[in-house]
Symmetry: none
Subunit: 220 residues, 4 copies
DNA sequence: CATGAATGAGACTTCATTCAT
DNA sequence: AATGAATGAAGTCTCATTCAT
């Protein structure tokens, strides 16, 4: 929930409820909202359901958030905060780059599979700003989320463990992309998946790619 | 399905017009429907808007398709058929595996950037939908779409050009994942992108991964 | 179908189709219309379905009838003609009143059970003129239908076989009412029913009532 | 059900308001709904009209009832409850069977003439509806409604005042049938009717039938 | 004559949101 | 602060009916 980053969580209030009870309400709404948005997606989630699950009236939701959109943005921010914290806290910075990569991959898969990937879908599909619903708000979060990985890749390049002939941006896609793809597959087909094994295999593949043992990148 | 496979596209509606002007209408609806669904996603797309853009009454939409869902399924089928045809027709089967991979990667990126990735999002986010909307219909299409790639990977493994110690499923994610990730990025940020260059770099990275020059896959 | 009563069947045409083919079309529409209206009731029946079952276009229905309402009126008229003919043709006028009553009861039950009572429901529920749908047209038909019964009752009263202290109108309700009630029951609950047995019992009951062996009618 | 049995009437809708103004609204909706459904029948009645007559927005209707069907079912339940209560409260159980029958007949005719038989038509014609609309829900109500009569007939048979050679089911039709038939007639033709006189005559007729003074029932 | 095609009118329903209490 | 109640706006879908061909 990150009471530490109120700037992200609170900016959508009508008035300024600051009491303990208020903060609890907000936390509850974020929690339940996360569940519902994750399960249903933005459009199919309803304020009614969120209120019902929490056992409060629908109007209460609007007492604390400007509306559905604002609640959803807050939910996602809150969730990102949580993920980012998890990522950063456990990263074994003293170990080799490859081990750190392994940690990031494994944690990413774990987090999303546990959360149900619903939020992932939410961000991915509602993140498109065109539809005017959510939009913009997410880029900074995405950036913060990928920061540890970018940093890792940069350090790897600096130390020579990772090839330097390819842009960081592309490297990042090569790491994050397969993970998301795997997750979609899991969600779509409900296949049980051994996270540890898949992580290990995936890291091995990625490591080959990142090392660039296949010769110079460009024009093959 | 394209105009040649009316069984999927043509309505099983009350009246099932089947020729000449009819087929044109269906093509129009598929075209406009593709645009709107791509821009808005399933929920935010409206039959009203589709009808308006085409300059017909809303009832006309329902003369040709059972409803919004059916139209959307038809739109996606139609679009998949198009992509699949493109993929298969140009694949240089006589060239080395790596060159074929390059073709697939490049074509994928091109097609989706031109089409605007909206449909990609549509399939990805609405495709899960145990909830209600689309679902099921897409797995076979997904399978047909990835068939050429899977075939290529299998042939690569058979010829020894691609490592055999990792499952095809994982290899597929390693190839498709980065592409989708790149596309999301491009769409979200509207960055202009040099498809040729990115394709080349990406293939280089992937090729390293697929060759497996980094040592045995498991437990690294 | 009664080609003999064109005034009832034909008055709803757009133009005046008089050819053999036209008459066949009209007969077909009346037949299929009867089926559909009987199965679905007026509101839930659709011109689409009628056309489809006949294998013609929807517009054809409107070539021969001013519209749904006109078709329905024609269907009911046509059906009444048929029933009335059946009733009158078989009535054993030379036999005792009670035997004739038995014939009428048995025939009524048979006809409606075979036809499915759907049309009965149609007349009963759509006959209410308030709803502006069908209305008025039916009273004359009802009168023609009940004519044989009324005649029978009058003859019974004249001959002294039926009590004279109660109005014909009430006697009629006492005869027709139970039959309709039984039919509704059968339709509602799908109970198989032995028409012969029920007819016999019902006639026995009715005969008691009509004879008036219970003493003077009024004020009991 | 009347206001005392909210489980049937109160909505299981998103929001389930349950007191004070709420209950009044529900009563209002049941009242207006009864009017409109009675006048128009299920299909021709519209939620729009119900809302308008009550001077509320259409959405309000759906705040209190799941939908048109649910409202209609509630309307009918409510109405049945009312009728049944009326029937049972006044029945002179200490008087002879014939007098009790007279009461039931008279009350039935009165109630339906006052209510306008529209609901009778509604139940009769929409009640069949395997097709789609209402259905099922009504059989229990029908049963409760006819219970007093069935009980009366059974007691009459037990005491020897009513013939035993005919099934209760048939006897019931002989009593209820003529009443419904009379009512249809009255409604269709708008004839003013002297309920007291008709009741008396009808009971006299029915009593003859029920006593069975005409000889053994079967095979006449 | 038959029909393919199109549609206007209107139905039911959902939902985020507001406001007086 | 919380909510009961109400609703405007919008959406999907149905169907009888028309008209040019």
């Amino acid at each position: 929930m990150s009471a530490e980053t109120p700037s992200t969580v609170h900016p959508t209030h009508r008035r300024a409820p600051a009491s303990a009870k208020s903060e609890q309400r907000i936390r509850d709404l974020l929690r339940v909202g996360r569940e519902v948005f994750a399960e249903k997606g933005y459009e199919r989630a309803t304020t009614t359901e969120i209120a019902q699950r929490l056992g409060v009236s629908e109007a209460t939701v609007f007492t604390y958030f400007h509306g559905k959109r604002a609640l959803c943005v807050a939910v996602i921010s809150d969730w990102y905060d949580e993920i980012i914290a998890t990522m950063q806290d456990g990263l074994p910075r003293e170990q080799p780059i490859r081990a750190q990569l392994h940690y990031l991959v494994q944690t990413h898969l774990r987090v999303f599979l546990v959360q149900g990937t619903g939020l992932c879908a939410l961000v991915l599909s509602e993140g498109r700003s065109k539809g005017q619903a959510l939009g913009e708000s997410f880029l900074p979060l995405q950036r913060r989320y990928t920061a540890p990985l970018m940093d890792l890749l940069a350090r790897g390049q600096a130390s020579g463990e990772i090839r330097r002939d390819v842009s960081l941006r592309l490297l990042r896609s090569v790491v994050l992309g397969p993970m998301e793809h795997l997750l979609w597959e899991v969600v779509a087909q409900d296949k049980p998946t051994d996270i540890e094994a898949v992580s290990a295999d995936l890291v091995a593949l990625l490591w080959s790619a990142l090392q660039g043992t296949g010769g110079p990148a460009s024009r093959g």
